[in-house]
């Protein structure tokens, strides 16, 4: 089965280039005529994930794997990790600094929003060892051949 993999580096605190990986993936999927609604969900998840890395995670890698039946986003970083994953998944919970809040981030909606938009989501993390978020999106019938 054919699949297409692409990866992008995401740098900590690099707000200028934040979102570029998501935009590239978005453009790629558009050329493949994937369902626009699905593309939008992927873009939202990708962007939230990317911002998490930029704000909290230290440097990270943003991988996308496109298969005929599903698309997998795999965003991992070498940051401080999440102590309590269940808590982090709650709406409104955030560990963002005041600096980020002033920039308009840190509303505690990132992970919940990703969970809402992804078909499946797995968060693996341990304090001090970084975080890995994997999200899958199922492509329904109108799959390109």
């Amino acid at each position: 089965m054919s699949s297409l993999k692409k990866s992008f580096n995401v740098r900590c605190r690099d707000f200028i280039h934040a979102g570029e990986a998501s935009i590239s993936v978005q453009q790629l999927l558009k050329q493949m005529h994937i369902d626009p609604v699905l593309i939008r969900r992927i873009a939202i998840c990708g962007y939230e994930g990317e911002m998490n890395v930029v704000m909290h995670g230290g440097d990270g890698i943003y991988c996308v794997e496109i298969n005929t039946d599903r698309i997998v986003l795999d965003i991992s970083d070498k940051g401080p990790g999440i102590a309590d994953i269940a808590k982090a998944m709650e709406k409104g919970f955030s560990t963002a600094s005041d600096e980020y809040r002033e920039m308009g981030f840190g509303a505690g909606m990132g992970l919940p929003n990703m969970k809402k938009n992804a078909d499946e989501m797995i968060v693996e993390s341990e304090p001090g060892c970084g975080t890995r978020v994997r999200m899958s999106f199922i492509i329904k019938q109108s799959t390109p051949t």
């Binding site: 054919s2 699949s3 297409l4 979102g19 998501s22 935009i23 978005q26 790629l28 558009k30 050329q31 493949m32 005529h33 626009p36 609604v37 593309i39 939008r40 873009a43 939202i44 990708g46 962007y47 939230e48 496109i66 005929t68 308009g104 929003n113 390109p144 051949t145």
Partner: protein
């Protein structure tokens, strides 16, 4: 095929590829030293007409047609026209148009104000019910609408479903004038003087369709020399301030301000608004909106031309000079409000402002004919890119290496066109 927005004279084309590079939707290639168009991707932004050094690519709409004697000739004036004549009052510009042979020269600013009020109403109403998909996107710029239909169909719902002021006015005028003068509606020719390259050519996106309300478009740059001459005469004429009784809405500063980027939102009450101008900036913002950003904003004014309509491809005067003229107007007169709010509310409740076509119905009216790329295609493109390892030199006739690789995979280009691949 050459898109309907553009007139292309092949014998003038030297294949310099400047148009290829500026095209935001990558519609143009060079083949055999001549520009070739994929017309279905053209959004009518006019960027190619600005850069062509040979005059081979130009706008197809700015043909000045003589006023017809047996018809009633009415002209709707884009407020950008006033900004072309520093030191001349807008009402004098209208007189000048009368002198040129138009029976009625009609100012738009009254309708612009109405539109702004209607947007206020729409936002306030939906803020309460939280129904609208935020941020709403201004329906004014036709290029932006086409761009969304073509490349960002997800955002169609974000387009504000109100008709453009020109179409509202055109509709009203034809109705009233045929009644007052007792002429058949067909005998009224409505012209629109516009800086916009994309206006009036049959709008493939259909939204807020100006066609039917407007019969002919005149580019400002074509009417400028004649009008300039007439204005010299008007100065000496000292005619009455209000040239014609019908629709003689006195131009207000709202009009000229509207032409500037940010002018549309400047007259509104709502606060969470941004104005974005320039086609590249517009695309960057649309991409971000697709990713869920700016949902705390209520209304975004997009203009495909940098600095707004004052920078339109069919203007006669440089955009920054025109901006200076507008700023002078505003310093002199301020931004007034003239309309009673409750009357607009009544019209709004009647549904007078709403477009007959829902923006979401536009999905697919206007899309790329290219085949979707498959996984294998994507892999081939990746491989080609690593082989070419180029610097987007453009010698192959494509705007950049990635587009070239796509063209090769979809068999629209020959691999040997790349000089690195010849060896």
């Amino acid at each position: 095929m050459v898109p309907e927005y553009i007139s292309f004279v092949e014998k003038f084309c030297t294949g310099c590829s400047q148009c290829v590079r500026v095209c935001p939707t990558k519609t143009i290639r060079i083949r055999n030293n001549k520009a070739v168009f994929f017309d279905e991707l053209c959004i009518g932004c006019g960027e190619c007409t600005r850069v062509c050094p040979e005059g081979a690519v130009s706008s197809s709409i700015s043909v000045i047609e003589p006023c017809m004697k047996d018809k009633l000739n009415v002209v709707i004036v884009s407020p950008v026209l006033y900004a072309q004549f520093p030191g001349v009052m807008p009402s004098d510009v209208l007189i000048g148009l009368n002198e040129m042979g138009f029976d009625h020269a009609i100012d738009l600013s009254y309708y612009l104000e109405m539109f702004q009020y209607a947007v206020d109403e729409f936002v306030l109403e939906n803020r309460k019910s939280n129904n609208a998909p935020w941020p709403l996107i201004s329906p004014i710029c036709p290029v932006v609408i086409r761009l969304i239909v073509l490349n960002y169909p997800n955002l169609l719902d974000h387009i504000l479903p109100l008709r453009r002021p020109v179409s509202l006015l055109g509709d009203e005028i034809r109705e009233k004038l045929s009644h007052e003068h007792g002429v058949d509606k067909k005998d009224i020719i409505i012209y629109h003087i516009t800086p916009c390259h994309a206006k009036v050519v049959p709008d493939r996106s259909g939204l807020m369709d100006e066609l039917g309300f407007i019969d002919r478009a005149l580019g400002i740059n074509r009417i400028y020399p004649g009008l300039k001459q007439k204005l010299e005469q008007v100065k000496e004429l000292e005619l009455s301030l209000f040239p014609n009784e019908h629709f003689s809405f006195v131009p207000s500063t709202r009009g000229p301000l509207w032409g500037m980027s940010g002018g549309e939102i400047a007259g509104m009450r709502i606060d969470n608004v941004i104005a974005v101008s320039g086609v590249k900036e517009t695309m960057a913002y649309l991409e971000k909106i697709e990713m869920g950003l700016f949902s705390d904003m209520e209304y975004i004014e997009f203009r495909a031309c940098t600095e707004g309509c004052l920078g339109g491809p069919l203007t006669a005067v440089d955009r920054y000079m025109a901006k200076s003229t507008v700023q002078k107007f505003i310093k002199m007169f301020g931004i007034g409000r003239r309309l009673p709010r409750h009357k607009i509310r009544q019209l709004y409740d009647k549904g007078w402002f709403f477009s007959r076509i829902k923006p979401s119905e536009l999905a697919g009216v206007y899309k790329s004919k290219r085949k979707p790329l498959t996984f294998d295609d994507m892999k081939k493109i990746e491989k080609l890119m690593s082989l070419i390892h180029g610097s987007d030199c453009g010698a192959c006739g494509a705007p950049d290496c990635k587009t070239f690789a796509e063209d090769v995979v979809t068999e629209a280009a020959d691999l040997k066109a790349c000089f690195k691949m010849k060896e």
